[in-house]
């Protein structure tokens, strides 16, 4: 069996450039892997194999003429089924949109196509990214467990090798959680870094679009293609897009890594997760970073209540018409959350937006006061959970798996900063654990630098799950 599907984007790009492999061969490898793994993991909502073949043919023709559009030229990638794809069904995982075929691409999809990427298909999402239903997707390391969400298919597809990289969206951890529980890399981008046009929204101020890949270097390559200004999206910020790969380094001298052990290492963090993340932080120190203990970040405990209040109201506003006209087509758990958002008083909503400013300023003071480049923490407090233990109540006040995810992840959405999840070990039962690196606004280069140095020094990302009858370690 071909092992091409395990190449990184960077490696595949180099081979394409040398003429050692063709885009068609990469596509064949991914489609073969997809056929092996889909019956077990159900990462894809729809395959675009016909147009993918056309795109691969075009990529090969251009390569033969010495033209390579970008580092993604000829690389098979997938996109979450929340993004518009011209002429191809986009359902957002919901019967509400049954039969909907967009007549345009999301800006991110447009940029991938312009960059010469080969779009393999649409990946499974929880219904409208709300994380309330149980999609068919299964965790790549243990089919009895939660695959992450809402970018479940993107995380699992990349982990099992049925895509070299994928696009997801993150409103409260929906990229970082599937990255962590499937042992891959996921980036919640700075708010406004990537256009949201053509992506079904939850919240204009909490949503972000970003990559899921197997390495940090690949994550940098994908972001370099999809990031940047979009005149049609008022939330997309006109900030120059650097050459993210140029900032990658194997040493971390001059980098200050903050560690806050009160909020992020609270009692709910499992001992094996705590140990893996602490070991990863030690490794960053060994690579030259200065590790700095940071006291509890002021007002951090208000991130989740502020975020959830904004999230439910914003999401319900967008679904207002669908809820009234097609309410019966939603999964009940999603519909309940949409009903809930209708009940939030406007004054509470404004107060939550004020609270976000307070939380943001607390985080800024922590970064500035300790001259931090990144803040390190567990991505989530546990490896993953069995599906039956997953509470579907996003607003749960007790300690549930979902409230744990929000505890660790929501801060980035509420304050708009970027956050990267990088594999940093395995649990006692052999499930992946993620290290989360928070950055300053538009601090993606620092996240990539730290994450890449860590991956050069460690081998966690080289392990692959056993799916389709094949275990692998590179």
């Amino acid at each position: 069996m071909s092992e091409l599907h395990w190449l990184t984007i960077a490696e595949a790009g180099e081979r394409l450039g040398r003429g050692d492999v063709t885009a068609n061969e990469l596509l064949d490898a991914v489609l073969e892997r997809l056929r092996e793994t889909e019956p077990e993991v159900h990462a894809y909502a729809g395959l675009m194999d016909e147009t993918a073949r056309d795109e691969a043919e075009r990529a090969d023709r251009e390569l033969q003429h010495g033209s390579r559009r970008s580092p993604l030229h000829g690389i098979p990638v997938a996109v979450k089924d929340l993004l518009y794809t011209r002429g191809f069904p986009t359902s957002a995982g919901s019967k509400v949109l049954e039969g909907f075929v967009p007549d345009s691409d999301a800006v991110v999809v447009e940029r991938l196509r312009e960059a010469g990427a080969v779009l393999v298909g649409k990946t499974v999402t929880h219904e409208f990214a709300y994380g309330q239903d149980v999609p068919p997707t299964r965790n790549s390391w243990d089919r009895r467990c939660y695959p992450g969400g809402s970018s479940a298919g993107s995380g699992v597809g990349v982990a099992v090798g049925s895509a070299f990289g994928a696009i997801g969206t993150d409103t409260g951890g929906s990229i970082r959680v599937p990255a962590s529980v499937n042992g891959i890399v996921g980036l919640k981008t700075t708010a406004g870094r990537v256009s949201r046009r053509g992506v079904f929204p939850m919240s204009a101020t909490l949503d972000s679009v970003g990559p899921l890949t197997r390495t940090v270097e690949d994550c940098a390559l994908v972001l370099g293609v999809v990031a940047g200004r979009d005149r049609g999206d008022a939330t997309a910020i006109d900030e120059p897009v650097p050459d993210y790969r140029a900032h990658l380094s194997e040493r971390l001298e001059g980098i200050r890594v903050g560690v806050e052990r009160d909020y992020f290492f609270y009692d709910g963090v499992r001992p094996d997760v705590r140990a893996a993340v602490e070991a990863a932080i030690d490794e960053l120190g060994a690579l030259g970073a200065e590790v700095v203990d940071v006291p509890r970040i002021e007002y951090i405990e208000y991130a989740a209540p502020a975020g959830i209040t904004v999230l439910v109201a914003d999401t319900s506003e967008w679904h207002r018409r669908f809820l009234r006209e097609r309410g019966d087509r939603y999964v009940q758990a999603t519909r309940v959350m949409l009903e809930l958002g209708e009940l939030v008083p406007a004054t509470a909503y404004v107060r939550a937006q004020k609270a976000r400013a307070v939380v943001r300023d607390g985080l800024r003071r922590a970064f500035d006061g300790h001259r931090l480049d990144v803040l390190a923490a567990p991505t989530i407090p546990m490896p993953t959970v069995p599906l039956e233990l997953l509470s579907v109540d996003l607003t749960g006040s007790g300690e549930t798996a979902l409230s744990g995810f929000l505890h660790h992840c929501f801060l980035a959405n509420v304050t708009g900063v970027p956050a990267l999840s990088v594999p940093c070990g395995f649990s006692d039962e052999g499930l992946p654990i993620g290290l989360q690196l928070y950055g300053r606004p538009f601090g993606e280069p620092d996240l990539f630098r730290v994450g890449h140095a860590y991956q050069v020094a460690t081998e966690w990302h080289l392990r692959h799950p056993e799916v389709g009858g094949v275990a692998a370690e590179r």
Binding site: P305, T309, L340, L343, R351, A357, S397
Partner: protein, 62 residues
């Protein structure tokens, strides 16, 4: 906030919002509403009198 999260209250707020809640949704919605009220109550602890909310307003014509 001391609003009770019972069916009657939810029904009344839903009428104001202009939505009809299916009977089957009420138990789950009551639980979610109670939790949401706790989140809102938590935010009451903050002094935000002098704080501008995070909203985006750009008066330029594009």
């Amino acid at each position: 906030m001391t609003v009770p999260a019972d069916k009657e209250t939810i029904g009344a707020v839903a009428r104001v919002a202009g939505i009809k809640i299916p009977e089957a949704d009420l138990p789950s919605l009551a639980g979610a509403f109670a939790n949401q009220l706790q989140a809102i109550a938590a935010l009451e602890e903050l002094d935000v009198d002098e704080v501008e909310p995070i909203v985006s307003f750009d008066p330029r014509w594009r």
